[in-house]
């Protein structure tokens, strides 16, 4: 089984977000980068589990600049066989998807696994775009993935419930909570990751379809109005008369 897992780096979840250059650039000062949680905890781990059960190999792909190499090495340490980095700044989802699709086009992957969304861009669209470029089925928000022979049986979240689907042949999937259990890399994995290949490939010609013109922080909340615990009816009154939400 030949599996491609798409990972991106993301600021650690405890990061305070700030911007520089008149709010046009994300301020990376003091930010710790991690592998995007959905990509690492669910997509990558499920890919590795399937490889362990069925044989084959797991390739990690990231579209990013050289500063992401330590994050990619950390992902390899969980148990991937190799990694590829497409050397470009990932500023637009259409661009990222084109790069990954161009790489995957002639490699006959049985499946391409993505995370549900990146916790910085929060688009949840790169996986669907890769699927469209490669003319493959795309199953989003998967919470379970099993192989029955050549057929994949996938449970995914849909509005108001979940759906069990069957897919024959290669597909692209985005991973949601439940697909796998988070793994902590062990010492052997970390040592092995140092010698596993991390190929750097130059980007295919493509233009960004979007640009971030500026960022903005949400307005600060004013003071919290305290209500006497003995008189919750006061809260109900405030919600009705002042906040007008009920």
């Amino acid at each position: 089984m030949n599996i491609l897992v798409c990972i991106s780096k993301a600021p650690d979840t405890t990061s305070k977000i700030a911007f520089t250059d008149q709010n046009t650039r994300f301020d990376t000062n003091g930010i710790q980068f991690i592998v995007n949680p959905y990509d690492e905890w669910y997509a990558l781990v499920r890919g590795i589990e399937l490889k362990e059960q069925n044989g084959g190999s797991v390739t990690i792909i990231a579209v990013d600049e050289a500063d992401s190499d330590p994050v990619i090495r950390k992902a390899i340490a969980i148990g991937a066989d190799k990694a590829v980095r497409i050397d470009a700044r990932p500023t637009d989802p259409s661009f990222v998807a084109q790069q990954i699709a161009a790489y995957a086009a002639d490699k006959n992957f049985d499946m391409i696994l993505c995370g549900k969304e990146t916790i910085n861009y929060n688009g949840g669209v790169v996986g669907g775009m890769i699927a469209e470029h490669l003319d493959l089925p795309y199953i989003s928000l998967a919470t379970n993935l099993d192989m029955e022979g050549s057929k994949a049986v996938i449970t995914r979240e849909v509005k108001g419930g979940s759906e069990v689907l069957e897919v024959d042949g290669p597909f692209v999937l985005s991973a949601s909570k439940g697909l796998a259990e988070q793994r902590i890399p062990n010492m052997r994995g970390i040592m092995a990751a140092r010698t596993k290949p991390l190929d750097v490939v130059s980007a295919a010609e493509a233009a960004d379809a979007t640009t971030v013109r500026s960022y903005e922080l949400p307005p600060e909340k004013g003071d919290c109005k305290m209500v006497d615990p003995e008189h919750p009816e006061e809260l109900v009154r405030l919600l009705h008369e002042e906040a007008k939400v009920i």
Binding site: P11, V125, G128, G161, L165, E216, C224, I246
Partner: protein, 320 residues
């Protein structure tokens, strides 16, 4: 510039998120000039309720496999070509994200996924979206001729419009062979309760509730408010509550009108998923709980005392 929306149907009617997309598109079309056209798939009842939200025409692909994003996106592209629409809008929900990503590739369109405001078109076509899991917003310019926008549920609201009913026509397009087969659908709840991302009111509880057996009072309060229920991550991790209730940076992000957090400390990862809420109420026995800093209203007290009293108060309020 006509705008095309993809409207998801449930039992023949547009979902709330689809009606919100229609409301958004109507307002954008009023600003930019043009009409709002919808594309739908599967069984449709009348105009699916879309006319009342400003849609003038509906193209319905009745034979499409609604679980196949490949077929749905082909239908959207066919409708875009038929109507000449260059802006495509849909909800940033399960179906919307799926379809939008494929459509953007087919039309060579730049995408803003998760918009929270109308586009502005004075210095380029710019749409505001939430980034860093709600910790910031970005103003994103779409530079391509075709543009795709998915809108975050509850960020724009529903706005009716007196256009009346929309004209419904069958969409004639070759959707190709479907590549996925649906084995079964398992509803998360059978009581018809509202999906969490679309709920206007949400009651959420955390580890302060001590155990799953104490959620009765949370559900009772939610039912008095007519609210959906949510929880913090550890609560769903240990299995006290189902995964789909987990909100936050690694759960789902919501922006209801009212979010009431009970026995939740307010860790930065939790706040990331809920700080788009219009009004936040925090009930916590610890006056130093970080959540109070992000709240509009707070009660310092024991949930086991406060929640039943609050439920009684809401009951009296509901009774008038």
């Amino acid at each position: 510039m006509s705008i095309l929306i993809f409207a998801e149907l449930k039992e023949g009617k547009a979902t709330k998120a689809a009606l919100e997309a229609a409301s958004y598109a109507s307002k954008a079309a009023a600003d930019l000039g043009g009409e709002v056209i919808a594309v739908t798939a599967g069984h449709i009842e009348g105009d699916a309720g879309l006319g009342a939200y400003g849609v003038t025409r509906v193209f319905n692909a009745s034979d499409a496999n609604t679980s196949d994003s490949g077929q749905l996106s082909k239908a959207v592209v066919a409708a875009a070509q038929e109507s000449g629409a260059s802006i495509i809008v849909m909800a940033h929900d399960h179906a919307g994200k799926l379809v939008a990503s494929r459509v953007s590739v087919k039309l060579n369109a730049g995408i803003v996924a998760g918009a929270i405001a109308l586009p502005t078109n004075t210095e380029g076509f710019i749409v505001k979206k939430s980034v860093f899991s709600g910790k910031a917003m970005a103003h994103v310019e779409i530079k391509t001729a075709h543009k795709v926008i998915t809108i975050t549920p509850n960020s724009f609201g529903l706005h009716t419009n007196d256009k009346g009913t929309a004209e419904v026509t069958a969409l004639s397009a070759d959707l190709g062979q479907s590549k996925v087969t649906v084995r079964e659908f398992k509803p998360t709840s059978t009581d018809g309760s509202i999906p969490l991302p679309e709920a206007d009111l949400v009651i959420s509880a955390g580890r302060g509730m001590k155990g799953p057996e104490n959620w009765g009072m949370i559900e009772e309060l939610a039912s008095e408010f007519g609210a959906a229920t949510a929880c913090s991550r550890p609560v769903s991790d240990i299995g006290w509550r189902p995964h789909h209730e987990h909100v936050g940076q690694t759960g789902i992000a919501i922006r209801p009108n009212l979010y009431i957090a009970i026995g939740i400390s307010g860790a930065i990862q939790h706040l990331a998923g809920v700080n788009g809420s219009k009004v936040i109420v925090v009930v916590n026995k610890d006056p130093e709980a970080p959540f109070f800093k992000a709240a509009d209203y707070g009660i310092v007290g024991d949930a086991f005392d406060v929640v039943p009293k609050l439920t009684e108060a809401v009951k009296r309020f509901n009774a008038g």
